[in-house]
Symmetry: C2
Subunit: 280 residues, 2 copies
């Protein structure tokens, strides 16, 4: 596996692959890899000739007071993990390499960014769009892999690709969970032991919410009640929206039931995507 | 030469060229081709294995009350001209093909768009960025060609490419002029015979402005005086800015001396780029 730190180095490697007509799979990450990332890399490995994994804790998508500085990092372990599941390149640029100068042109997410996490993280998705656009151009990927756990991010990136005709196919990866149902997340390390024992209640709440929806009841109070009774966290949002539009009212296609809970040092998110066609 | 109307058709052709490792040159136009466009196509022809020319009168870059509806069009003549200078593909999508749905994500030009033409054409360059981004992605061009006559557009597109690491090289084409100095433009057909005879004064003014600058005087009043005395048009702007930043004060690198004059049915623009290093 090649570890590449510069854009020029990556471009050069990509050009060689393109010359040989190798298809390129790309998995962008912020590092501190867990089973969720590894399952995306394995999927990319199966569907492409070569695989690029990037690790970049993107300052543009963190707001003031958010956890940019203390976002967990472990490059030696990540390198070993990425190699173990078959990545060909690990791209690990510095912030200066990715953002050498003040940008003139800006990308702005649309109304999809006003709901769910976007409401409490203004500018977050604009920062995601910026780095993802740059990485799509640098990797010239044929397919890029995003986890459904970040359902809003996935929806917004699908819009980006459609709105601007990027020559990349977005592939969705299912959320990977701990045995007790907690969605895998790099931020889970921030949980205290007590919070960690409460956290599976988020997934349980989604299960209850899903059942409520399928039996024609409002899932939101059901979920709120379960989370309030079983965790010490504060509910940031519980929303039930059409997917991937992220609007209300929900239609007869897909819908997302999504939740964010703030614990003392960790804000956890989770969701389920429902196919309402199956119901109606 | 292939005339392609759909994005899917273009993508398919591009994929074949990529598989054969052919380099792709791309010349985006709004049609009504003149010698300025043809010189860009010839340049692309020399520097690439294959050449795509697009003709798309992009509604997104016209404001209300601008000349979108009556922008001159002549596809049969354009087809013959593009073929005569060696284009391999003429891409002529409809507006519905380019913009099938309302976009979620927006691209916005920075302070570079607040000067010169941007001041009287709010949103114009955002529309240019939108279509150019889509066309770069659809053509997967190695090199794209833009005329220096649209100096502000060129500067903003160079920023776009740099800010988002597009895998395309922007190539500048020199302004092509009529024998009397008038810059070639599709909009020149709007000029009345009298206006047409006055219009070379714009280029003469730029020459006088250049001389003034090189002898340490302010070029703006010199140019304004010349245009007011020799044309019936109204000066929209005369500006002297650093290039490609489009800011004041000008530094010791490149600078642009640019002018826009509104005639009855045509708004003409022209500019010269000065290398101030040669002077100081």
């Amino acid at each position: 596996m090649n570890v590449i730190e510069t854009k020029q180095g990556l471009k050069c490697w990509v050009a060689t692959m393109k010359q040989d007509n190798r298809s390129i799979g790309f998995v962008p990450t912020m590092g501190f890899l867990h089973e969720g990332h590894l399952s995306l890399i394995r999927q990319a490995r199966k569907e492409n000739d070569v695989v690029i994994v990037s690790i970049f804790v993107n300052p543009a998508q963190f707001g003031p007071g958010e956890d940019f500085e203390r976002y967990p990092r472990d490059l030696p372990k990540d390198t070993a993990l990425a190699e173990s599941v078959g990545a060909d390149v690990l791209f690990v640029p510095s912030a200066e390499e990715m953002y050498p100068a003040e940008a003139q042109v800006t990308l702005t997410a649309g109304p999809q960014a006003d709901r769910l996490c976007g409401r409490s993280r203004p500018g977050h998705f604009d920062g995601v769009l910026k780095v993802v656009t740059k990485l799509f151009h640098l990797t010239e990927a044929d397919r890029a892999y995003f986890g459904q756990k970040d359902a809003q991010q996935l929806a917004i990136i699908e819009s980006l690709v459609r709105d601007f005709d990027f020559p990349v196919e977005i592939r969705r990866g299912a959320t990977v969970r701990e045995e007790d149902g907690l969605a895998k997340s790099s931020r889970n390390v921030y949980l205290s032991p007590e919070e960690r024992s409460e956290a599976p209640a988020i997934h349980e709440a989604l299960r209850l919410g899903r059942e409520a929806t399928l039996s024609g009841r409002d899932p939101v109070p059901v979920m709120a009640d379960h989370i309030e009774r079983h965790t010490s966290g504060t509910i940031d949002y519980i929303e039930f929206l059409s997917y991937p539009e992220l609007t209300e009212p929900i239609g007869s296609g897909e819908a997302v039931l999504a939740v964010a809970v703030q614990f003392e040092k960790a804000r956890l998110i989770d969701n389920v995507i429902l196919n309402l066609k199956e119901k109606y």
